[in-house]
């Protein structure tokens, strides 16, 4: 129960990047996480491990602001994520397990929509379409821009979702199981792009069932019983 006094108290947060303070998350009566502290510094890659049902996804959704924690606060560059000045949602790309693409739209239309939603009119449409073609070619599905999303195979659909990472400017990626069901080549591509993003000062958090050999991480986080 957060009391009013503690909510108005402004704490000085020393950490850049994403910082979760005294986070308590529960679903119905089950406490998934209690008093968790987590710091994702700029230019780091964090690997969130653990079996299904341990609260991995809930923690992740909490960090995106979609799930309200029972207690605790989350800061982005020292400001609470819901504070308008934090700019968190401008900086964040969250790829969930569901691919978030419309079956009724073409690949290009799907990707264009998200890019425009994030950048408004600032993204020149011609440039954007060229970028989309480029990324799709890199992913090995070049030339399919005009296809309906529903017509693609599961693997191809997954690649389209990953293409968003290249098309929308961001400072933090939160990725739920990005490597699952990917072929060897695309795994390598994603790992390389993630390292590139890190080199530019990006924050990365991803979940996975297994260790990813291609991607050296800076921090490992797991939800454990006590």
């Amino acid at each position: 129960m957060p009391s009013l006094s503690s909510m108005s108290q402004s704490q000085d947060i020393q950490f850049d990047g994403l910082y979760a303070h005294e986070l308590t998350v529960s679903r119905s009566e089950n406490v998934l996480l209690e008093d968790a502290e987590l710091h994702l510094a700029p230019a780091t890659i964090t690997y969130l491990y653990g079996e299904n049902g341990t609260g991995k996804t809930s923690l992740m959704r909490c960090l995106t602001g979609l799930l309200q924690p029972d207690d605790g606060k989350i800061y982005w560059n020292k400001k609470p994520i819901n504070h308008p000045e934090s700019g968190y949602f401008q900086d964040l790309i969250f790829l969930a397990h569901s691919l978030s693409m419309k079956n009724e739209l073409t690949i290009a239309e799907n990707l264009t929509f998200y890019a425009q939603l994030r950048c408004g009119g600032s993204y020149n449409n011609k440039e954007l379409q060229a970028d989309i073609s480029q990324v799709l070619t890199d992913l090995g599905i070049g030339g399919l821009e005009g296809r309906m999303f529903a017509e693609l195979s599961a693997g191809q659909q997954h690649k389209v979702a990953l293409a968003r990472l290249m098309l929308e400017p961001a400072k933090i990626w939160i990725l739920d199981e990005p490597f699952v069901n990917l072929d060897q080549k695309t795994r390598g591509w994603l790992a390389a792009k993630t390292l590139e993003f890190k080199a530019q000062g990006g924050v990365v958090l991803f979940t996975s069932h297994h260790h990813i050999d291609e991607l050296p991480v800076d921090q490992k986080v797991g939800v454990e019983h006590e």
Partner: protein
Amino acid sequence: MISTLLKRELKVARRNWIGLAIPLLFFIIVVSLFPFAVSPEAPMLQKLAPGVIWVAALLSMLLSLEQFYRSDFQDGSLEQLLLMSSPTSVAISKIFAHWLLTGLPLVILSPLLGLLMQINYGFEHINHTWVLMLSLMLGTPTLCLLGAVGMSLTLAANRNGLLVSILIIPLYVPVLIFGASTVTASLESLRYNGELAILGAFLMIAIVFAPFASGRALKISVG
């Protein structure tokens, strides 16, 4: 931002037009049942017309609610929308698009139903069809707004098909009362601007509260 959302809605709807056509077809078929069930005599049908057309419109709006947020919720794009724009603006653009795609066609189709229900029987100079259209024009957006609230509340619920109807039908009653009585007043050659004004007032109240409530409910459903 709202225009981007709106464009996408319309594009998706265009490729999914059959889903939108079904509630409209339902609207026509339900109304055309009444002459069989009651009587094909024009004076009788005329007396029933306002109520029958309004109830059919209401049910058709209820049917089309399923198209509202459901597919966005299921494929995960709703949470992406909520991450990138404010819940209220997501709700506003969704509601507006939904009304354009379901409410407006009802308004446009209503003269046909007025014809079936003999709404102008015995009147040479007054055209009740316009009043019918006007009442639906003011009433259906309110139905849409209330429906959006109900739909966003039940998105994450376990059983939702009929649940949403149970939640919002009581809220539809005032709109139904004034919508149907606008047309009835016109048929009885009475003044109906009062009724229209009240329908307009309902719409204003709904516009102020519903998108906000729906947005809050969306956040809860997605969380």
